[in-house]
């Protein structure tokens, strides 16, 4: 395979205007599939979450999952879409072993939600409104494993193996209208859109939105037109874009590749391309079938869906505060700088901090715990913050113990370690590890006297007014009490004993 020529990015955006179209598929986190009662859990043994319906066996009939429809409507409303008063499913016919029925049940010209928009904030604060063409319901395909070729690639494979656990999992496909006029920022807009959409879907609690596990997938349509013109060029559709960073890289790569082809007098082939994560390039794939070739027709086995208006309004009432608005509110309430807010969001800690604050902790303390010590622990374990075995309520309790003087910061970290090591609630860890601050002044005074007697020269300096010398005695007392004393209190006692 020859390496295609690429045009320098600055020249690309000087000579061409990029046109984007983004298709995002989101797997719903319903308990069961779209049209049958098989479980949707990720990672099961192959072909153990299947039944006659999702295997397309003769005589089986689909029935629509009510929660999937509800989620579709909520997604549509959150994207400021109109909700269809009446719509149907359609069969999309194609022969490919990932769909045992030889068609995918989807929606064609009657999506459940249409004509919406999503405001996307770029890194520098600029807001771009991305128009949403439609959000429709469909089902996921099975997973194929190609055997005999290099590294699971289809090229050179001897045969393929199919697991249909994923076949029939509810999917919502969200399609933007064409996004024009973004120029050099097109790749950034694409990433920001998917990122914003991901946050929104997460807030709606309708999907795991894990790009690494494929529960959120983005196909990027890219075309170029010469600067100043308005007729769209031929587009390519890049698949296998599995991270936010990849969305940006894939769009940028396609722009530089297409520009080089066009500049050399070539033409762009309308095709599906495959993003290669390692090299950041795209490689040609199959020619796209035209929509006519799919021979869509209304699904005869499923009756139309006509969401009652009062149901739609009821669902509108369940929408969460839009993530962008929530951030603005939280930033004001917690007095965060832009940088602090961004760190919080990037660490995936916003919900955790909010829950910790709700459990009674001051925002500054809650934020500090989650973005520093706990983030470190999560990093060491190679897990997400949310996967740490400690709850916001437990963190709030630790903070309360520090605030009331029962724990020093150092002891508090030990208590957190205990909770993470599954030793129970903070109070249990304090009790079993014996971590309470020694607040009994008589015990501390005895320790102070002992330390002063052991270092008489230091004691003399302190009596002479050199308060800085007290540090050595504080250290000795802390050591003697296994770090369980409040250093500030110890220092005060030392000065008192020395009459300083």
């Amino acid at each position: 395979m020859t390496t295609p020529e690429l045009m320098d990015y600055a020249e690309v955006v000087d000579r061409f205007d990029p046109v984007l179209g983004l298709e995002v598929h989101v797997e719903l986190s319903t308990a069961t599939k779209m049209f049958c009662g098989c479980p949707t859990a990720f990672g099961g043994e192959p072909n153990t979450q299947v039944c006659p319906t999702c295997l397309g066996l003769p005589g089986s009939l689909p029935v629509v999952n009510a929660v999937a429809v509800e989620s579709a409507i909520r997604i549509g409303l959150a994207l400021n879409c109109e909700i269809a008063e009446w719509c149907r499913f359609a069969r999309k016919n194609y022969f490919y072993p990932d769909m045992p029925k030889n068609f995918q049940t989807s929606q064609y010209d009657e999506p459940i939600a249409f004509n919406g928009w999503l405001d996307v904030t770029l890194d520098d604060g600029e807001v771009v409104r991305v128009e949403v063409e439609r959000a429709h319901m469909e089902e996921d395909t099975g997973k194929s494993l190609h055997v005999g070729g290099a590294t699971g690639r289809i090229h050179g494979a001897e045969h393929s193996l199919l697991d249909y656990n994923r076949a029939g999992v509810p999917l919502i496909e969200i399609v933007t209208k064409t996004i024009t006029g973004t120029g050099a920022r097109a790749p950034e807009v694409a990433r920001a859109y998917v990122s914003t959409l991901r946050d929104l879907l997460k807030a709606l609690d309708v999907s795991d939105v894990r790009m690494d596990q494929g529960s959120l997938r983005c196909d990027a349509n890219v075309s170029l037109m010469p600067s100043g013109t308005t007729v769209f060029g031929t587009r390519t559709e890049t698949k296998n874009v599995n991270s936010l960073r990849s969305v940006e890289r894939a769009v940028r790569y396609e722009m530089t590749r297409q520009a080089a082809v066009l500049a050399s007098g070539g033409s762009i082939l309308q095709e599906t391309r495959h993003f290669e994560e390692a090299s950041g390039t795209t490689r040609g794939g199959r020619r796209k079938e035209t929509s006519e070739d799919y021979r869509y027709f209304p699904e005869p086995d499923l009756v139309p869906i006509a969401p009652a208006r009062d149901w739609v309004e009821e669902l509108r009432g369940t929408l969460p505060e839009p993530p962008a608005e929530r951030r603005r509110r939280v930033q004001a309430e917690w007095s965060l700088t832009d940088l602090e807010l961004r760190d919080l969001v990037n660490a995936g800690a916003l919900d955790l901090v909010a829950a910790t604050v709700a459990a009674g902790a001051p925002p500054a303390d809650a934020r500090s715990w989650w973005v520093s010590y706990l983030a470190q622990q999560a990093n060491n374990r190679g897990v997400e913050l949310t996967e740490l075995p400690i709850t916001p309520t437990q963190v709030a309790r630790v903070i309360a113990l520090v605030t009331d003087g029962s724990l020093t910061n150092k002891l508090a970290r030990e208590v957190v370690d205990g909770v993470l090591a599954d030793e129970g609630d903070p109070d249990q860890v304090v009790a079993t590890r014996g971590l309470k601050v020694v607040s009994d002044d008589s015990a501390l005074t005895a320790a102070v006297d002992e330390a002063l007697a052991a270092q008489p020269d230091v004691a003399v300096k302190i009596r002479d007014g050199k308060h800085a010398a007290a540090g050595a005695i504080v250290g000795a007392v802390m050591k003697a009490t296994n770090g369980q004393a409040d250093a500030k209190r110890v220092r005060q006692l030392i000065l008192d004993r020395c009459g300083a």
């Binding site: 072909n47 299947v50 629509v64 929660v67 490919y96 055997v147 005999g148 045969h159 599906t272 199959r286």
Partner: protein, 99 residues
Amino acid sequence: MPSISRAEVAHLARLARLAVTEEELDLFAGQLDQIVAAVAQVGQVADQDIPPTSHAVPLTNVFRRDQVRPGLTQRQALASAPAAEDGRFRVPRILGEEA
């Protein structure tokens, strides 16, 4: 009048993964022409103001609760498969396409 060309029949046959001979292309083109013409008669009585019927029963919103129901075991699922391997359906290699 509808007219189905040989090329259209060949295209449909390819989409449906059917092997059709040269003689069959002519035969089917003629037959499909007649079928389309017969169906087109509906247009003489049902004009633009009558929406096409896709479902014979006047029902909407038939839903299922989102509750797991037992399905098939892996052994049952693969029982009728022409070939299986490692708990998966085994299919011939897929040519000229990229998943």
